[in-house]
């Protein structure tokens, strides 16, 4: 098994783990963390192909940096949203936030 395959396998596994978190955890915070994990998995793919890919892919590395920055922004806004939702509904269960009407 080559390192590239390993990386891809880990990436896929992490992605699925994140996905499972998103799908089955009822808590909004964990859902958000799951999303973060999925992003990480994507980052790992970038890095893997940067390192073991056909070469010349400096962009892969740089992209990961941007991706991390954006993920941080996403986390901040997401958590703020969760807090806002909690203030409104007194709950952070995603299932409770099923109305568009405030």
């Amino acid at each position: 098994m080559s390192p590239l395959h390993l990386c891809l396998a880990l990436s896929a596994a992490l992605f699925c783990t994140g996905l499972v978190a998103v799908l089955i955890r009822g808590n909004a915070i964990l859902v958000l963390l799951g999303v973060e994990l999925m992003l990480n998995a994507a980052n790992l793919n970038f890095l893997a192909f940067w390192r073991f890919g056909p070469g010349g892919g400096e962009a892969g590395l740089v992209f990961v940096l941007f991706s991390i920055a954006v993920a941080a922004a996403e986390a901040a806004v997401g958590m703020a949203l969760v807090i806002a939702v909690h203030r409104h509904l007194r709950s952070i269960r995603i299932a409770d936030a099923n109305r568009l009407k405030g």
Binding site: T17, L47, A73, A80, H86
Partner: protein, 168 residues
Amino acid sequence: MTTLLAVLALICLAPAVAAVLVRNLIHSALLFVLAWLGLAAFYLALGAEFVAFAQALVYVGGVSMVALFAVLLTRPGRTDLLPPPSAARAVGGLAAVSLVASMLASSLFWSRLPSMEPTAPIPLRRLGELLAGPYLVAVLLVGLILTVALIGGLLLAAPRRPAEGADA
């Protein structure tokens, strides 16, 4: 190399899986942190030093803090311990697992990826030149996004507790 990576992958994957399954929210979040740290180590092993430290700094220092704050501020009590409806959970799990299976299968067994020699790591200075050169606009845009996110987070969460969304 592969061995090291495999060990690190396990270090990374195990907490992640545990985090998804553990019922205690705080534990779950802390396990996520562990997973991210493992991932940072994995990056380090891949030769992406800068990215690894950035990952640690941002996820361990930033995202995890935000998440923990959110957990504490929302005080879910025991509610999170209730599982979602079991049928839905089963369906979701099944779907996810099938997806995992298909992806793993495709990526590991049937892909015709050439096995490449690892490229040389990029010197840090080169990375700086890249960021300040061709990617300058992107850097500025990311800065803008972060600023907007900061302000947006503050606005969303601020009315009662001004400090809570303040990092990122």
